[in-house]
Symmetry: C2
Subunit: 219 residues, 2 copies
DNA sequence: TTGAGATTCAAACGACCGTTTAATACAATT
DNA sequence: AATTGTATTAAACGGTCGTTTGAATCTCAA
């Protein structure tokens, strides 16, 4: 049994050690992945003792679970902010709202609601036991929301294979603009400016709407 | 100076230790990345001594360089096999040839010419000093080939920003189907069957040609 | 003031990391 | 047979890893 109560008692009255650990770990895990960060790195960044990780989170993996959980929550609450607003628009406008609301956050390097994508990138190359949970709570809801829009545009059942393929085509284009350390290090002009990003969002919407309409005429 | 000559002399006449190390390291680095594999893992898989890595490759990073170099060469020779054949076709047919030739290799888990994509995935989340070299020799040639096709389809200059955006839209769709350990672990029905993959290739071609034609009418 | 529980801390644990060393085994040439 | 240069080997080096330990320190209730 570690500790459970918020923090009615502590040596100093400033931000609780647990919160500092969570904040530092979120930043470092998003940047370097679970295996690329040591608990000593996290403890140093949080100005805490190494043993505090085990005391407050029951080990490195427990801290990672807490980070992932809060990151998924941050993303989903960020989605609700602009997705619910367009719930009664045409599917074309819904797709535009999705992409223009999603892409700037995807491309931002300091948007807290997008850190989950960095965690997911590391999970792709080096999965942890948390991977299935991320897939279910961090990815599937988005996929299903997009599938609803696309199936209306295709005028077909949501489980039509063309829906899944179009969803991938849209999502792949958006995710490609998530900055990573490879492209930042290897390509000039990366990451993109805000103005370019807005033009890219417009491009993805037009490109994808035309693609979907073409796919709708087939099979 | 380590060794240079092929292997006129060795304790045993079987496959040279250097070649076994390179083969084992390619498989392991592609699977787990540079940081996720220890030289002891590689030596064990190659039935060699740990010190052999330093003797033949001047350290772990030297071995990684050799792996990356051979993987890029394998991919480029695989490209030439089907890209040069379509050099005088219409740009539409060239795009179809590119996608239908590229996607099955991307999606294959045992195609030696596609291991470079696994190495690149790890580089994205955790870059090594080899990252810039991979970008220049493993990525740029493909991008420029695609840009040539797209600029003909758009009927504009190759450095028009719309070209780069369409290239990303195509390449992002293709790369999304590269299997990774996250999706294999977290999603059912993954990776895709050969038949589904052929249908996906056709989808990407139709989706993208329609998208490009739409973009061609703008700006 | 005292006791109990929560929290922090320096230190140590065993395991693994990449690399180095020095001795040895081998084949080909003197 | 002796020498030379290449290749392999077991062992050890210093360092970092995640975790554990046990004592010290803090807050708050009795």
């Amino acid at each position: 049994m570690t500790a459970r109560r918020p923090s009615p008692n502590a040596r100093r009255p400033d931000a609780a050690t647990r919160e500092r650990l969570l904040a530092a770990a979120t930043r470092l895990f998003a940047q370097h992945g679970f295996g690329g960060v040591s608990v000593r790195d996290i403890a140093r960044a949080a100005r805490a003792n190494v043993a505090a990780v085990n005391y407050h989170f029951d080990g490195k993996l427990g801290l990672y679970r807490a980070v992932v959980h809060s990151a998924v929550q941050a993303m989903r609450s960020g989605d609700d902010a602009f997705l619910t607003a367009a719930s009664d628009a045409s599917p074309e406008e819904q797709l535009r709202t999705y992409v223009t609301g999603y892409l700037p956050r995807i491309a931002s390097t300091d948007d807290r609601t997008a850190w989950i994508h960095d965690l997911m990138r590391h999970e792709m190359s080096d999965p942890t036991p948390v991977a299935p949970w991320i897939a279910e709570h961090g990815i599937l809801p988005r996929i299903e929301y997009l599938a609803g829009i696309v199936s209306k545009l295709l005028d077909c059942r949501p489980n039509d294979k063309r829906v899944a393929r179009c969803v991938v085509s849209i999502q792949a284009q958006c995710l490609f603009y998530r900055p990573d350390r490879f492209r930042t290090a290897a390509f000039k002009g990366w990451p993109l400016s805000d103005a370019e990003l807005a033009a890219v969002a417009d491009h993805i919407v037009e490109f994808s709407l035309a693609g979907i309409k073409r796919i709708a005429t087939r099979q």
